[in-house]
């Protein structure tokens, strides 16, 4: 059970070469901007193709360069939420959520929408357009839309970084609750050290020079694998980095 990632990709400026796997837990993907965190999620979601490697979810192969498997984004069982708002601006919150339910029988739709509206506390906002929502509400609506497909993992690419601090604190709680309620692996990309330490069941640290270390926040803090990772995990400067 869980998500196994083993991919390599050469991009202008850096080479991504990472291997990690997680179970039904909240994994924080942490590292400097430009260390390939977002690229990893895009590769998982199928929006970007690794040069080589393998991705599988619950034993199902989604990408395998050796066997020439590369599932289209539509056929990957993930919920993907990014920092910016990707709610469709011309659809209400409810229609945005229902949009993800193609192929689901009409009578099941109502209950599935009701479940995510309840989980993300969107009551009363169903008929609003995204432009009429506050930042935190938008992110909750995006989470609801991602969850309604009953994904087998949730990929969150810095979902809070555009939010004000109080809302961000509230959203961290929301994501924790979602992780517990839906019992699925969550990969949360962040470059906020505090967020990483407080939220992670498990941390995946990208050092920026190709090293990856995986472990609980406590383990990583006590025994960082390289001096670079140690700097990354202790540096105050991090809070000020973009």
């Amino acid at each position: 059970m869980g998500l196994c990632v083993d991919i390599r990709k050469q991009v202008a400026g850096f080479a991504l070469d990472v291997t990690w796997d997680i179970g039904a837990e909240l994994a924080v993907l942490f590292g400097y901007s430009g260390s390939g965190k977002s690229m990893t999620l895009q590769c998982l979601a199928g929006l970007s193709t690794p040069d080589s490697g393998r991705i599988d979810c619950d034993g199902e192969v989604l990408f395998d360069s050796a066997r020439r498997v590369n599932r289209a984004p539509q056929r990957r069982p993930f919920g993907y939420v990014t920092q910016g708002c990707t709610l469709f601006p011309h659809m209400t919150v409810q229609r945005n959520i229902a949009y993800a339910l193609k192929g689901v029988p009409a009578r099941d739709r109502v209950s599935r929408i009701a479940e995510v509206v309840d989980a993300l506390q969107l009551h009363g906002l169903e008929h609003r357009l995204p432009g009429q929502l506050a930042g935190g509400q938008k992110q909750r609506a995006q989470l609801a839309r991602a969850l309604v497909r009953e994904p087998r993992a949730l990929l969150l690419d810095e979902p809070f970084s555009a939010l004000d601090t109080p809302v961000r604190v509230e959203m961290r709680q929301v994501v924790r609750e979602v992780c517990e309620r839906f019992r699925l692996p969550v990969v949360l990309v962040t470059h906020d050290l505090y967020e990483a330490y407080t939220m992670a069941d498990r941390m995946i640290v990208y050092s920026g020079s190709g090293d990856v270390q995986v472990g609980s926040p406590c383990e990583l803090f006590k025994s960082p694998a390289t001096p670079e990772i140690e700097t990354l995990l202790t540096s105050e400067r991090l809070f000020m980095l973009e």
């Binding site: 929006l47 984004p73 539509q74 990014t82 990707t86 469709f88 011309h90 949009y99």
Partner: protein, 224 residues
């Protein structure tokens, strides 16, 4: 307006309406493909759909005659292969084709720009929500580009309504059959009937002005 002016105006409206329907189907499809895909021959497709905007309409009309004329390239090929004799020159359908070809670039350009301005993150989001490229086009991209689409079609309609050069080449100037309103202006001037010419010119000026305003209005309306 006198009775003999009703026919040219009705014909022009009819030609422009049919041509705009064709533009809607072909123009939006071409614009979508140009905006969203990279492929060999993309530049050529762009060139072919833009040329009629730049070429003198008479030149476009000449090409149309060469392709669709009685002994034209397409007509000849159709007759040789499936035995159908294409006989549309000097009918009102020829006027429709002239209006369509000449007005197509306006829709392609406007719609392409509108589609390119749709946030690619929304397209990716739609894909990760399990929706196909076609679903995404119908439910996300085209609705978000709808102002550009409407503006483009209004401009194309106005252009089709006033088409002269290509029309006279392939549809001729047959009274009671292919004398669209712009041709009728020419006829009136040739016969020294300045009052009639002025009436049609005035009608065109007002109509075209109104359509430009409408297109601008559509492009500017705020929402979402």
């Amino acid at each position: 307006m006198s009775a003999e002016l009703i026919f040219p105006f009705r014909l022009s409206l009819q030609v422009a309406a049919v041509a705009t329907c064709m533009t809607a189907v072909v123009g939006i499809t071409v614009a979508y493909v140009l905006a969203r895909y990279e492929f060999r021959g993309k530049e050529l497709l762009d060139l072919i759909t833009t040329l009629p905007m730049v070429l003198p309409p008479v030149v476009t009309g000449y090409y149309l005659l060469v392709v669709l004329g009685r002994n034209g390239a397409l007509s000849g090929a159709l007759e040789r292969t499936i035995g159908v004799r294409l006989n549309i020159t000097f009918t009102w359908w020829a006027a429709v084709i002239a209006a369509f070809v000449v007005s197509l670039p306006l829709t392609v350009k406007t719609v392409r720009a509108a589609i390119e301005s749709v946030d690619p993150a929304l397209v990716s989001a739609s894909h990760t929500l399990g929706r196909s490229e076609f679903d995404t086009a119908i439910h996300v991209v085209l609705p978000l580009a709808r102002r550009g689409i409407i503006a483009g079609l209004i401009l194309s309609f106005a252009r089709a309504l006033g088409e002269f050069g290509a029309t006279i080449m392939i549809a001729g100037n047959i009274s009671g059959r292919t004398n669209t309103a712009p041709l009728e202006i020419y006829n009136a001037v040739v016969y020294g009937d300045w009052n009639t010419a002025f009436t049609i010119v005035l009608a065109f000026t007002l109509l075209s002005g109104a359509m430009i305003l409408a297109a601008n209005r559509v492009a500017k309306v705020r929402g979402w």
